[in-house]
């Protein structure tokens, strides 16, 4: 039975009339034309579909639309502000932390969630947090280096903000 589900997508109110049992991934990609979240395995094994719901990482291929009702969803399309890249995005470019780029949106969003909870993570903490995100063509070490660099850049920004 179709139902109208309302939630915030990258800061904007959206509503979609469809079956609430559908997984968020397909609603984002098909109904809402946000294709940044990728299908990789469909069963929660690869992390390519990772999005944030109320700041927490969720596998969109396993997340029923009904659970998004009234909540705030962040996809990769919502991370840059006014054309300015988030430090994580910039660090991924600077460290060559992607090759084909298919797993990259999920990686960045999972790392984003980590940095919210653990602003200054060790390399081991980053690897641990990202263990469920698979990359098939790159060196995971570059992703860890990028997340470390972003955490330092964010720290510097925070310092600058406090100084003002």
């Amino acid at each position: 039975m179709d139902k109208t589900i309302r939630f915030k997508l990258n800061g904007k109110e959206v509503s979609v009339a469809t079956s609430p049992e559908r997984m968020l991934l397909w609603v984002l990609r098909t109904d809402l034309d946000h294709t940044g979240a990728k299908y990789g395995c469909g069963e929660g094994y690869c992390g390519a579909c990772t999005v944030l719901v109320d700041g927490r990482p969720q596998l969109a291929c396993q997340f029923p639309l009904a659970k998004a009702e009234g909540r705030s969803v962040l996809t990769i399309e919502g991370l840059a502000k006014g054309g300015r890249l988030h430090p994580l995005q910039q660090a991924f470019i600077d460290h060559g932390a992607m090759q084909c780029g298919y797993c990259t949106p999920g990686m960045i969003l999972r790392a984003y969630a980590l940095l919210r909870e653990t602003p200054d993570p060790s390399e081991a903490e980053i690897a641990d947090a990202l263990e469920g995100n698979l990359c098939r063509c790159n060196n995971y070490g570059r992703i860890i280096a990028a997340v470390r660099a972003a955490s330092q850049a964010l720290k510097m920004k925070g310092v600058a903000r406090e100084a003002r």
């Binding site: 397909w26 990728k38 990789g40 780029g101 995971y140 860890i144």
Partner: protein, 741 residues
């Protein structure tokens, strides 16, 4: 240099506007008028176009290279354009799947034309805009496409200087180029931009001579570490992959699959699926699919179809495959032969004979095979994740019965390939379904479909017999490989008496003797086809010989190598590794393996820990030294090598397709284990400087040594050798048990 004669090939049927492709990156969407090249040049406005030919070497021709009019590679099959706005565009049928040629080829162009890198556009993998290309594989793009493109750019620069000479009233040799402008060397204020020179003019030339290219010493772009140019699109989600393309009225397909390879559809009842709201069931012979506006709902409806299949005729599984492969081996091809095996045996003080085995491995690309097909009258538009856009477009034309020129295939960003996307089954499925539906149809394989339909790296068997003389030199080498293919089957060492035989190519389902298919499913190229497992066998065997000779494995290799480049790379790796090797096993877990992969020299050295009780291998450190000739983008080269090392851990330690009676038992990443963050070793790459050698391939070489280097390190750690890939914990525990038992 002479004007290009009017001709209908190469198939160049671009869109009307010049700026559309820049909006989408490689092969993004846009209208698809069909035009002859002449018309294109008219519509595209002013510009200097240089046509050039790209030959891909004898190997490529063997692999089935062909040109649109049969004349490949003499015909121009690539071109670049300096536009009226001064922007430089390269049109190539190569595709970007992560390997970074979107950046490195643009760097080569910017360098040779003296324009900022930011003003170079790459148009890739679009069969309407780009001249014929046989496909992106074999670590060949920079090696074979780069040099002629560079010469064409040098030619373009020469023409711009000639035009400027008239404009500026200065002799050509008084002029220099920089930042997209020609200027008088002694008074740089006197200058004219490329855009100013070209204005509304149209100039077409075909490159025939080989103009001098810039000496390396003058390079300011090429050779400098450069971030990926597609990085921004890939971190913002703007990068479009095939599954991200949307067309009005399109439908998503969910296709009925047999439970096993070779299982034929017997009965099918689609009544329940047809009642599913919004679903439409279509059928063309064995192809049964549900179409729906939503991909997930198409799949829900598909689950309602009741189908019965005959059982697969295949009775093979992982335990019986190797005997079967020996039995079904076709006649041998002699890959290499020298001296006499009898003579070698006489010289040998000791002879070592062993057999090696490798299981099937999946490509498991991040992005499963995906295609979108739109049919409008007799015109067809395709967007597909493919490594072979032109071949795929031709197959679509044959399938739909339209002329090839009417099929336009665009290749958006491709999410990994590794050889698996040379096969375009999903494209043909989408074409057939689009025809049945009368609407655009997307086919995006699910992960289980990806595992089921993949063309696996072939399982293979290797028999190796080698002899050592009293001085520790290899004097005899008799090598038989069954179904791996010939690549990297030749020993890298200097051996007087040798024979290398390959029984079967490793490609396709295979014919085999008596019509028995060797493989129960498709097999094909897998990043470094044949080489990964041939090198597992040859370099494992070299280590056994080193121990038999009483030498450490590095000293033994240096002693038996004649190739100075290879020696230099081994020494560079040893220097970086910084720990002396000793005769194995030492208990320390050090390993070495080397190869000369299509003229790229690689030496890897690793350190591992083995948990003997659990059989688990922890790779602590990987040093990989590589001489790949001139390096265009050192960042890109390092990323390729690091990616090879990471991927290689998987086929070495865990990746194996389990199958039984035609069924593929591994269907997703919970059982098919690919490398993940927790596996990560410290990876150190050494780019061995060799700028005098033209750029060689970089996308595959380093992955090919990973099986052997880990086998050798495991032996050094625990004194137990593994003869089968992958070296899973269970196999390691079993091998330890056999040795101590």
């Amino acid at each position: 240099m002479k004007p290009v004669k009017s001709r209908t090939h190469p198939r160049i049927r671009p869109r009307g506007r010049d700026d559309e492709y820049t909006m989408y990156g490689p092969g993004g969407p846009g209208p698809a008028p069909t035009l002859e090249r002449r018309e294109f040049l008219k519509l595209a406005g002013g510009g200097l176009v240089v046509f050039f030919a790209v030959g891909e070497g004898a190997e490529a021709q063997i692999a089935g290279a062909r040109g649109p009019d049969g004349g490949y590679p003499e015909d121009p099959n690539a071109y670049l354009k300096v536009g009226a706005d001064g922007r430089v565009t390269c049109f190539t049928g190569k595709i970007e799947m992560g390997q970074g040629i979107h950046t490195s080829l643009a760097m080569m162009l910017a360098e040779e034309l003296d324009v900022p890198l930011a003003s170079v556009d790459m148009v890739m993998g679009d069969t309407a805009l780009c001249p014929y290309d046989q496909g992106t594989f074999g670590s060949r793009s920079t090696k074979y496409f780069g040099p002629p493109m560079r010469r064409a750019a040098a030619e373009a620069r020469g023409i711009l200087i000639r035009l400027a000479s008239k404009r500026l009233g200065a002799a050509e040799d008084e002029l220099a180029t920089k930042d997209g402008a020609v200027y008088v060397a002694k008074s740089p204020a006197k200058k004219v931009t490329y855009a100013g020179l070209i204005g509304g003019k149209r100039i077409e030339v075909r490159l025939e001579k080989k103009p001098p290219i810039k000496p390396l010493a003058k390079h300011t772009v090429s050779g400098k570490p450069t971030p990926r140019r597609d990085g921004r699109d890939k971190v913002t989600g703007e990068a479009k992959f095939s599954g991200d393309i949307r067309l009005p009225g399109m439908r998503y397909a969910a296709i009925l699959r047999p439970p096993a390879h070779g299982a034929k559809l017997k009965t099918v009842d689609t009544a329940a699926a047809e009642k599913y709201p919004g679903a439409r069931v279509v059928r063309d012979g064995d192809l049964v699919a549900v179409l729906h506006e939503k991909p997930d709902l198409a799949r829900e409806a598909l689950a309602l179809i009741q189908a019965e299949f005959d059982p697969s005729p295949s009775t093979l599984d992982n335990s019986t495959i190797f005997d079967h492969l020996r039995r079904t081996a076709p006649n041998a091809e002699t890959v290499e032969q020298a001296g006499s095996l009898d003579e070698g045996a006489k010289l040998a003080a000791q002879i070592v004979e062993r057999s090696y085995y490798a299981h099937y491995v999946a490509h498991a690309p991040s992005e499963p095979h995906t295609a979108l097909v739109e049919i409008e009258g007799d015109k067809v538009n395709v967007w597909a994740s493919t490594q072979s856009p032109f071949r795929a477009a031709d197959e679509v034309a044959r399938t739909l019965g339209v002329v090839p020129a009417n099929v336009r295939l665009r290749t958006p960003f491709v999410g990994c390939g590794f050889g698996g996307k040379n096969q375009g089954g999903q494209i043909i499925e989408a074409a057939r379904l689009a025809k049945l539906a009368g609407r655009p149809v997307q086919v995006a394989w699910t992960r289980p479909e990806e595992f089921f339909n993949d063309s696996f790296r072939p399982a293979a068997v290797y028999d190796v017999k080698a002899g050592l003389d009293a001085a520790g030199k290899i004097v005899l080498w008799d090598y038989h490989n069954y179904h791996a293919g010939s690549r990297s089957s030749q020993p890298v060492y200097d051996i007087p008496h040798k024979r290398v035989l390959a029984y079967g190519s490793g490609f396709g389902g295979g014919g085999g003797q008596g019509g028995v298919r060797p493989h129960p499913f498709a097999t094909g190229a897998w990043r470094g086809p044949g080489s990964n497992t041939n090198i597992f066998a040859t370099e494992s065997h070299a280590d056994i010989l080193a121990e038999a000779a009483g030498l450490d494995p590095v000293a033994f290799r240096l002693k038996n190598l004649a190739n100075d480049r290879m020696k230099r790379v081994v020494e560079a790796a040893a220097k970086q590794f910084g720990r002396a090797f000793a005769k194995a096993p030492t208990g320390r877990g050090y390993g070495v393996a080397i190869t000369d992969y299509l003229n790229t020299c690689v030496a890897a050295m690793v350190e591992v820990e083995v948990d003997k009780a659990r059989g688990e291998v922890r790779v602590l450190r990987v040093v990989c030294a590589q001489d790949t000739g001139e390096v265009i983008n050192p960042d890109g080269a390092r990323m390729q090598i690091e990616g090879c090392v990471t991927m290689g851990l998987g086929y070495a330690l865990t990746e194996e397709i389990r199958f039984k009676n035609g069924r593929v038992l591994d269907q997703n990443f919970h059982t098919y284990q690919v490398p993940r963050f927790s596996w990560l070793p410290k990876i150190e790459v050494v780019l061995v400087d060799n700028p005098d050698l033209a750029p060689q391939g970089c996308g595959e070489p380093a992955v090919t040594v990973m099986g052997a280097v880990l086998a050798n390190a495991i032996y050094d750690a625990i004194g137990v050798r593994l003869f089968m890939l992958p070296m899973t914990p269970a196999r390691i525990v079993e091998a330890i048990g056999k040795k101590s038992g």
